[in-house]
Amino acid sequence: MMLVKQISVFVENARGKLSKVTEILAKNGINIRALSIADTTDFGILRLIVQDPDKALAVLKENEITVKSTDVIVVEIDDKPSGLNSALVLLRDAGVAVEYMYAFVSKRENEAYVILKSDNAEQAVKALTEGGVRVVPSKEVYEL
C-alpha cells in the first residue's frame, strides 16, 4: 500500500479555531507526523499526516469538525541539493500534475520526506518508483 491517508480539516481563519482541532487529537492520544496549512482570508485547510488516520477521522467527526480523508503519496528524498528536483522532473516527464506538497525532515539523518497530492496518484507512484525514487509505504509512514 503506497497511498497514505491524509486528514484534511476545515478551519475558519479566526482565533482559537486551530487549537480546537489539536486539542481533540491530543485528548485522544493521536500523534501528528506532519502538517501543513493552506490559508485564505476567511478559512484554512489543515492537512495532517497522523499515526492512526481512521481514529483521527472518527474522533474529529464525533466533534462535528468538517474533515475529509485524501490519498497522498510520501516520497523519501536525499537531504541534499537537487534531491527534490529529481523527483519532480520524473513526475513532470510522466505528465503528472502536483496539486500541492509539503515536506518534513526524518529522524534519520540525511533523509527528508515530501508529501505530494497529485492528480493521478497511481501514475505518480509508478513514475517515481521506476525512476529510482523511493515511495514510502503507508504502514511505514504512520510509524515514522
Binding site: S8, F10, T40, I45, E64, I65, V67, K68
Partner: protein, 434 residues
C-alpha cells in the same frame, strides 16, 4: 418659488378629502369588482359587495391584498384594464419568476408625474429647475418616476441613471443641476466623489435632493445636506402602488405627506389586521383610488410606521407618516434592492440540494451597504484543495448575484458555528445604524 404643485389637492380641508376619497373609492371598488376576477372572488369570499362600500369609512370591510396575491396573479391577474390600455410595465427586484410586475395606463403615468411633481415642488423645484435622475432607469421605478415628475413640472430632466459617477458629476456641474434624485447612499457616494475629485461643492448649482428607495437615518440625512450643501426631501413609494411619489416630506421635517387623494393610507395591526388609530405604530396599507392599470386594494406594504391627519405647518393637510420604522416581514433593502432571506435560501438549495445553515450580515462600509452571506461548510462540499473551495464560493456568489441582482461577500464557516435558535431561526444580523 411655488410652494405647492397642486394646492387644491395638497391643502384641501379634511371634509373635502373625506368626500373626494369616498367618491373615488366607491367607483373604483365597483370597477375592480367588475373587471378583476381575482378581486371579485376575494370580495365574494369575504362576503363584501361593492354596494357595501358607501364611504371611505367602510374601507376596513374590504379584504387585504399582499405580495403573495401579486405572485399568485402573476403576471396579468391583478390588471384592471386590457393590455391595449397598458403603456408601460415596471417590476420589483426579486427572484426570477417571483418578481412583481405593475402595469400603467397613460393616465397612471400622468398621476405618477403629478405626485412626483408635488414632491419636486416641495424640494423647491419649478420649470427653471434642472432635475438629475440618478436612480436606475429600467424596470426599477426610481429613474423614470423622477423623470416623469421633472417633465410634468416643466423642468429639464437629466436622465443620467446610476453609475459612472465621475461623468455624472461633470454633467451635474456643467448642466447646472439644481435637484438631484437618487438613493441616499448614492447621494453620499456622489458627495464623497466630488470631494475626492478635488471639486468645490459651491461651484455647483445644486439646491436640493429628493432621496428614497431605501431606509436612511436622520444622521445620514444631515450628513448628505452638509456634504452637498443642499436641503433634502424624503420620497417614499413602492412599485405595487405607483413607485416613488406615494409620499414626500416637506421643509418642516415633521413626517412624510401621503398623496392620499390617490393612495388612501391605513395603519393596521400586522397580527390581527385591525385598523389602528392615528399615532399608533403598525403596518402601512394603501388603497389606490385613481389608478387604472393595477389599482391595489388594501395592499399590505409590510412597512411599519404611524400616521397623523393633523394639518402641517407647511400648509398641507395631507396625512403624514413617520419615517419607516421597520418591517413586519424579513425583507431587507440593500443598496436599493429588496432582499428576502428566502431568496438566499432557495439559491443555496440550488447548489447544495440540502438547505444549508446560513446567516446574512448586513453592514455599511462608508456609504455602501454590504451583504455578507455566511454558509456553513458541509462534508459534502469540503475539499482538501483551496481552489475547490474557492470555486464553491464563486459558484454561490454567481448564483446569488443572479437571484438577488446584488454582489455579496461569501464566507464559508465551520459547521455549527451559526447559532441555532429554538423558534424561528435568526437569519439576519443588520449592523446598519437605524
Amino acid at each position: 418659488m411655488a410652494k405647492y404643485w397642486n394646492p387644491e389637492a395638497e391643502c384641501m380641508s379634511r371634509e373635502q378629502m373625506h368626500s373626494l376619497q369616498s367618491e373615488r373609492l366607491c367607483s373604483k371598488i365597483k370597477e375592480v369588482y367588475d373587471s378583476v376576477p381575482y378581486y371579485r372572488e376575494k370580495m365574494d369570499q369575504a362576503g363584501v359587495k361593492p354596494e357595501d362600500i358607501r364611504s371611505v369609512d367602510d374601507l376596513h370591510l374590504l379584504p387585504f391584498t399582499s405580495k403573495q396575491d401579486l405572485r399568485e396573479a402573476y403576471p396579468y391577474g391583478l390588471f384592471a384594464r386590457p393590455n391595449k390600455d397598458i403603456v408601460e410595465i415596471h417590476a420589483t427586484s426579486g427572484t426570477t419568476g417571483k418578481q412583481i410586475v405593475a402595469g400603467y395606463t397613460k393616465n397612471d403615468l400622468a398621476i405618477w408625474g403629478e405626485v412626483m411633481a408635488r414632491t419636486l415642488t416641495a424640494a423647491g423645484g419649478d420649470e427653471n429647475s434642472v432635475v438629475q435622475s440618478s436612480y436606475g432607469y429600467g424596470l426599477f421605478t426610481g429613474g423614470l418616476g423622477a423623470h416623469y415628475g421633472a417633465q410634468t413640472m416643466g423642468a429639464m430632466a437629466l436622465p443620467t441613471s446610476s453609475g459612472n459617477t465621475e461623468r455624472q458629476i461633470r454633467l451635474m456641474h456643467d448642466m447646472g443641476t439644481t435637484i438631484l434624485c437618487c438613493t441616499p447612499s448614492y447621494a453620499l457616494y456622489i458627495g464623497e466623489t466630488i470631494r475626492d475629485m478635488g471639486l468645490d461643492i459651491n461651484e455647483f448649482q445644486l439646491e436640493a435632493g429628493v432621496f428614497g428607495a431605501e431606509p436612511w437615518t436622520v444622521e445620514m440625512q444631515h450628513e448628505i445636506e452638509r456634504l452637498l450643501n443642499i436641503r433634502t426631501v424624503d420620497v417614499y413609494g413602492l412599485t405595487e402602488i405607483i413607485g416613488p411619489g406615494v409620499a414626500f416630506s416637506c421643509d418642516q421635517e415633521c413626517g412624510i405627506h401621503i398623496n392620499e387623494d390617490h393612495f388612501i393610507p391605513e395603519i393596521i395591526d400586522p397580527e390581527t389586521g385591525e385598523v389602528l388609530p392615528d399615532g399608533t405604530l403598525g403596518e402601512l396599507v394603501f388603497t389606490c383610488v385613481t389608478k387604472e392599470g393595477m389599482p391595489m386594494m388594501r395592499y399590505r406594504t409590510r412597512d411599519i410606521t404611524s400616521i397623523t391627519h393633523e394639518a402641517c405647518a407647511c400648509g398641507r393637510t395631507l396625512a403624514r407618516m413617520k419615517k419607516i420604522q421597520g418591517r413586519s416581514d424579513d425583507m431587507m433593502i440593500i443598496r436599493g434592492v429588496n432582499v428576502f432571506p428566502s431568496q438566499v435560501e432557495s439559491a443555496l438549495l440550488d447548489i447544495t440540494d440540502v438547505a444549508p445553515h446560513y446567516m446574512l450580515i448586513v453592514d455599511r462600509e462608508g456609504t455602501r451597504d454590504t451583504l455578507e452571506v455566511q454558509v456553513e461548510m458541509t462534508e459534502q462540499f469540503f475539499s482538501d484543495e483551496v481552489k475547490q473551495l474557492e470555486k464553491l464560493e464563486k459558484e454561490i456568489f454567481e448564483k446569488l448575484k443572479s437571484a438577488l441582482g446584488l454582489a455579496t461577500k461569501i464566507k464559508l464557516v465551520e459547521p455549527k458555528s451559526i447559532s441555532r435558535s429554538e423558534g424561528k431561526a435568526v437569519r439576519v444580523i443588520d449592523k446598519r445604524k437605524k
